[in-house]
Symmetry: C2
Subunit: 313 residues, 2 copies
């Protein structure tokens, strides 16, 4: 066996636990995944959940990012401050050994604090941005990471200088499934961003500039007055919410302002946001989020010298 | 008995059924209330729910407003168009007799439609505005009716010319009780609008002009980074949401613009909005919502000639 596993890269979020066994050169050898997300685990059960998942793999060091480092996680890794570089993030990694003696490292989240605005925090996405910087050290622009809690981060001179969280995915879920608007929308087979309603909703918030709170009741009015089809109306709501995020990011004045954009996320979210930016008249290149997590974990492991000496690049 | 009941005025919304027996002069003689809101009733059960509530009262005509006239109500009263006057609303009242022979009237909701924006609908609040106009026929300004779905209506020359719905109350409920922010807030004994967090949240959205979607994650950040007390953080969220509504209404450009403001709602909502407008530097007079419903129903009953002839004013 020429290439044994030397490091386990772990993306441990609220709802999923994903692990990848990497070779000394950083190539993936095996992957494993479970539903043991941080949100589902009691205090004191993290080691068992992790060892269960990787029991077939060699006992090599593991580096982890995401909610595993939160107060509710395995062990708290306090937030590093912005501006944050891959080097400053690596320096804030916490290390310990599991009960079974496995060397473990947890990547910290990052925070932004300032006197003239509210603070903000990221936990997990910083590692994807590190992955992007490992590939493109000179990148200067905005990284958009769509999701339950979308993050927009400003990257300049190799550092994350500022960022902002938007509750976009959660807002869409609340409005489409738990608010009274659920009677006006319906999920179908088609991809929402390809439906006419998506473009219309997006136009309302991004181009017409309608404030989000003033726009959402129209989902109900479209059903009552125009008998709009429920699936297209769900696409319209999706367009309003994603458009609301884009307009809000633009209007904060701190983000974007003509700089280049990268979308980092799952394939389906990247497609929806790609279409949204295109409809709004902006160019944005999409990158795969899971690839960047691994690239980021690998880069941080090397920077923090977590590989055994003989495997260092 | 000098003054027998001659008309029953009914405010029948999604969650409550309220009835008031009025004298020929329009004075209240008795009131009754139940939890038989439209949202809780099956089709075909409305008459029984109503007769159960008023069984001790004489069999006089009843005039009703609210969701009772919706597609899910007792009988649908189609929306009247804007601009809408007390007279045009009265002309669109639908009349029928109950199985027991009682004359019944249902007030229509109103709608606004236009080629250059989405439509909107009101059902119930139009009657409160009619009540306001019955008292102040020359009122020219904006009527703000806070609630689960807040309404802002433009009133001019005795007509409702335009309006806009905001999901404020529902948004606050979703975020404080069903989103992940519920872990960062807590309901206490104190009135939210009196806490420092309320003023701060309001300032963020109304004065600093932070877009609502960009502001809400700060509820979580304040807990994580500043260890803000959970009750004050709930007040902060309330300030963000109410401030978001006020800023959105201002920014639509169609509403307000320096015109005089009236707040119409329950005592506690009127206090919160009164404080919000005061903090934002605007003057707004508050009126009691339930008084105005009765005044509006009485005015519409007289305009539509629903009183027996001998009781007409």
């Amino acid at each position: 066996m020429a290439d044994k596993g030397r490091l386990i890269a772990v993306d441990w979020g609220t709802s999923r636990l994903r692990a990848m066994l990497l070779s000394a050169a950083g190539r993936p050898i095996a992957t494993a995944e479970s539903a043991d997300g941080i949100g589902a685990l009691e205090s004191g059960t993290h080691e068992a959940a992790f060892e269960r998942l990787v029991s077939d793999w060699p006992t090599v060091p593991a580096i982890m990012a995401g909610m595993v480092g939160s107060r509710q996680g395995w062990r708290e890794a306090p937030y590093a401050a912005c501006p944050a570089t891959p080097k400053s993030i690596a320096a804030s990694i916490i290390r310990f050994k599991s009960g079974a003696g496995r060397p473990l490292a947890i990547v910290p989240g990052i925070m932004v604090r300032s006197d003239d605005r509210d603070g903000d925090v990221i936990r997990g996405e910083e590692t994807q941005i590190v992955g992007l910087l490992a590939d493109e050290p000179k990148f200067d622009g905005i990284v958009v990471l769509p999701g339950t809690h979308s993050k927009w981060a400003t990257v300049s001179e190799g550092a994350i200088t500022d960022f902002q969280t938007f509750l976009t995915g959660e807002m869409f879920g609340l409005l489409s499934r738990q608010s009274f608007l659920r009677h006006s929308v319906n999920e179908g087979e088609r991809e929402l961003s390809t439906l006419p309603g998506f473009a219309l909703g997006l136009r309302r918030t991004v181009i017409d500039g309608l404030p989000f709170l003033a726009a959402i009741f129209s989902v109900r009015a479209r059903q009552l007055l125009d008998s709009v089809e429920a699936e297209d109306n769900l696409a319209y709501l999706s367009g309003l919410v994603i458009g609301g995020e884009i307009a809000a990011a633009r209007d904060t004045g701190r983000l974007w302002q003509g700089r280049q954009l990268r979308i980092v996320g799952t394939r389906s979210l990247a497609r929806a946001y790609g279409r949204a930016f295109e409809l709004a008249g902006y160019e944005a290149e999409a990158l795969d989020g899971s690839d960047l997590v691994v690239a980021g974990l690998l880069h941080l492991a090397r920077t923090a010298d977590l590989f055994p000496a003989e495997t260092a690049r």
